[in-house]
């Protein structure tokens, strides 16, 4: 299984990943000039904290969010192993938000659903990896990622 890895030496904190994630994944229009003015505001799935792209889903093998979810909204894709939110059934109880050890799940108050990165599971490449101007974001095998970033 491939996960997103951040080379913190290369990350300049330019927020492009966050911006294009907000546009491509979170917005309705998928056109930046329109997405910017959308209401409710699109909620990006990735966040840049300071000069580090720290907040990303690890798609934990034993995911506490899946265990905590009371109605099976938080699911794992059986083929890819990626953890995702089935938004139509989310009841906004925020249990997942509370139990996530990395704090990557966001409560979207306007949409009343939990939002998290699903590593763009339906796309060929995650958009953040695609747009990163310094190649700080990479798609690597989970084992390799664990070796580099234990």
């Amino acid at each position: 299984m491939e996960v997103i890895m951040v080379d913190q030496e290369k990350c300049t904190g330019c927020h492009q990943c966050e911006l294009w994630c907000g546009n491509e994944i979170a917005s309705v229009s998928k056109e930046l000039p329109l997405a910017i003015n959308e209401d409710p505001q699109p909620v990006p799935r990735v966040h840049v904290e300071g000069k580090r792209f720290a907040l990303q889903c690890r798609h934990c093998p034993d995911a506490p969010c899946i265990t905590a979810c009371p109605n099976g909204t938080m699911r794992r894709d059986p083929e890819s192993g990626l953890v995702f939110v089935n938004e139509p059934t989310c009841i906004a109880c925020w249990m997942c938000v509370m139990v996530c050890p990395f704090g990557i799940i966001n409560p979207s108050s306007s949409l009343k659903v939990a939002v998290k990165c699903d590593r763009c599971r339906n796309m060929e490449f995650p958009i953040c990896v695609e747009v990163c101007p310094t190649n700080a974001l990479k798609l690597v095998d989970r084992k390799e990622a664990a070796e580099i970033n234990p």
Binding site: C14, H15, Q16, E18, L19, W20, G22, N23, A26, E31, L32, P33, L34, A35, I36, N37, Q41, P42, V43, P44, E130, V131, P133
Partner: protein
């Protein structure tokens, strides 16, 4: 990032793309792909680098966080400042051109065709720092100048317009609408500079006359040394080079430079988007390069094909332009001999074109009558250069075709004319499909009239000259006629400045690609609603992706006064 789009419509340039790929040379299209995705904050006008506490961004997707810059500029101020920054730069470009030209005339480098008129224009240019002479402003309809005075945007010279406007970027508490008015004020100074430059050109080199010439790569010659003049630099130096070149049998042509400088012609070899291609033919021995409209990438291509580059805008150019021109010609001859081993591959693609119509050679009354008699739907002023974000020439050519079919008279200028000339729009022998009313009007204007009239002679000041000529017929304002300005593939800051002053003159303007103001709803609203209220025209910044035909349909509908219907899905209109 993967990006698929046909690169150019120019069949002369296209084969060279493969050649460049084989040689491993990057052209403008490759570099654009390497830049993708371009910074979304900058593209939306949500970033600022005006001080050293930043750079700052206003994050559109972060709840209440990171919304304002360190100094407190919010998204609306950031947006309108992005526009102002472009217009300040564009206005300076116009001023640079006119001052450059005037300096060489003052130095007595040429003897003007009309000495008294030249002295008068030079005096206006000299006074431009502190004031714009009332005689210059008399060219505009009184209702227009009164409106400019009432809104505070009447041009008052470099110090009051350009310097003051540029200081808005430094700080202060000016709001969006007021900043936008400063932007208009600044752009009108650009308009005046361009008018003065056109007048100076006519006084020094004589009035415009329609001139037939040939365009595109096929005009390059194998047997004689060839010099290409790139971009803008002093017309006097250009003339000197042509003078010496003629004596010594050196062919002089141009790229992104004014083609008409009587008695000399600098035939356009290609248009802005494919400016690197002429060097790849091997038939160019030397280029003289200005700054405006010249890609720095030329250096690399020139190295590959052993082309000498002589920069015209250098600190140590020397006072004697004649000697400088002699040196350039000698260098070109030497380069021609040294380059005899380099193979020359000149595509057999060229097109005749008539450039240089003016209000003196076109009967403006007939045009006004055609509008009043509903023979034509309106007038589209086509301007702007190529932009790599679009297939080269595709947008402008497709839109022009649609306009002609639908009885819209097209007037073009500058780089837009050169792009259109490559496809025969400026060739009187080439029969374009025109609506019945338009055909009637064009044939009534005289013999040998092409489908599109180029008004570039006044140093690309054709749009303004045409508008003023048209309005003087019935002493009306431009906004009382169905006229739009269209920039299908705009590129440089000069295009933005020009678009701004056309709006201030009451002509609605359609501008592609969208300006970096989309992150600011207030600026977007001001460019439409506020401008409509103030000038009776709109600055259309269209963000929706659409093909060229849809764009032209939208413009034609706007000529009929139906524009609101078609932009209502934008949140700001």
């Amino acid at each position: 990032m993967e990006f698929i789009q046909k690169k150019t419509n120019d069949r002369a340039a296209e084969p060279f793309l493969l050649k460049a790929a084989e040689k491993g040379i990057s052209l403008v299209w490759d570099r654009y792909e390497g830049q993708l995705p371009e910074c979304g904050f900058c593209e939306s006008g949500l970033s600022c680098r005006d001080c050293l506490q930043g750079p700052c961004i206003s994050h559109p997707f972060r709840g209440d966080q990171s919304k304002v810059g360190v100094c407190g500029k919010n998204k609306d101020i950031l947006g309108v400042h992005s526009l102002l920054r472009l217009v300040v730069k564009g206005t300076m470009a116009y001023l640079d051109q006119v001052i450059d030209f005037a300096k060489d005339i003052e130095a007595g480098e040429v003897s003007p065709a009309n000495k008294a008129q030249t002295d008068g224009v030079i005096r206006h240019i000299q006074g431009l720092f502190e004031t714009v002479g009332p005689e210059v402003m008399e060219a505009f309809p009184e209702a227009l100048t009164n409106r400019w005075e009432a809104t505070g945007i009447y041009p008052e010279g470099i110090a009051r317009d350009l310097f003051k406007a540029s200081q808005k970027l430094e700080g202060g508490i000016t709001g969006v609408n007021e900043t936008l008015l400063w932007t208009f004020k600044c752009s009108l100074l650009g308009c005046v500079s361009q008018m003065l430059q056109g007048k100076l050109k006519s006084s020094v080199f004589g009035n415009a006359a329609p001139t037939e010439l040939e365009v595109n790569l096929g005009i390059l010659q194998k047997e004689v040394p060839t010099i290409l003049l790139y971009g803008h630099f002093s017309p006097v130096l250009k003339q000197k080079i042509a003078e010496v070149g003629e004596k010594k049998n050196v062919s002089i042509m141009g790229v992104c430079t004014d083609p008409l400088l009587p008695p000399y012609i600098f035939a356009p070899v290609t248009s802005y988007g494919s400016q690197e291609i002429p060097l790849m033919t091997g038939a160019v021995d030397l280029i003289v390069s200005g700054d405006q409209y010249v890609n720095p990438s030329l250096q690399e291509v020139a190295r590959e094909w052993s082309v000498t580059i002589v920069p015209a805008e250098v600190l140590e150019r020397g006072q004697d332009l004649g000697r400088f021109a002699e040196q350039i010609i000698d260098q070109a001859k030497k380069a021609f001999d040294a380059r005899s081993g380099i193979s020359k591959d000149i595509p057999d693609v060229k097109e005749s074109a008539v450039f240089g119509f003016s209000v003196d050679t076109v009967d403006m009354k007939k045009i006004v009558d055609a509008i009043n008699g509903n023979k034509i739907k309106g007038i589209a002023l086509l301007a702007g250069s190529n932009n790599v974000k679009f297939t080269q020439d595709h947008e402008i050519v497709s839109m022009a075709q649609e306009f002609l079919k639908n009885d819209v008279l097209c007037i073009s200028e500058g780089e837009a004319s050169i792009a259109l000339a490559k496809y025969g729009f400026l060739n009187p022998q080439f029969e374009m499909e025109c609506g019945k009313g338009l055909s009637g009007l064009l044939s009534s204007l005289g013999e040998d009239i092409p489908s599109i009239l180029d008004f570039s002679y006044a140093q690309n000041g054709g749009v303004t000259e045409f508008l003023l000529g048209l309005t003087s017929v019935e002493k009306k304002e431009p906004k009382e006629y169905p006229i739009v300005a269209v920039f299908p593939e705009a590129n440089r800051s000069m295009d933005v400045t020009k678009a701004m002053w056309t709006v201030a003159m009451g002509v609605s303007t359609f501008f592609w690609p969208f300006l970096p103001v989309t992150g600011s709803p207030k600026t977007m609203e001001a460019l439409t609603a506020f401008c409509k209220e103030t000038f009776g025209s709109r600055f259309h910044v269209i963000t929706r992706k659409m093909d060229a035909r849809t764009k032209s349909t939208m413009v034609i509908k706007s000529l009929k006064g139906e524009d609101e219907l078609h932009l209502d899905d934008n949140p700001w209109s």
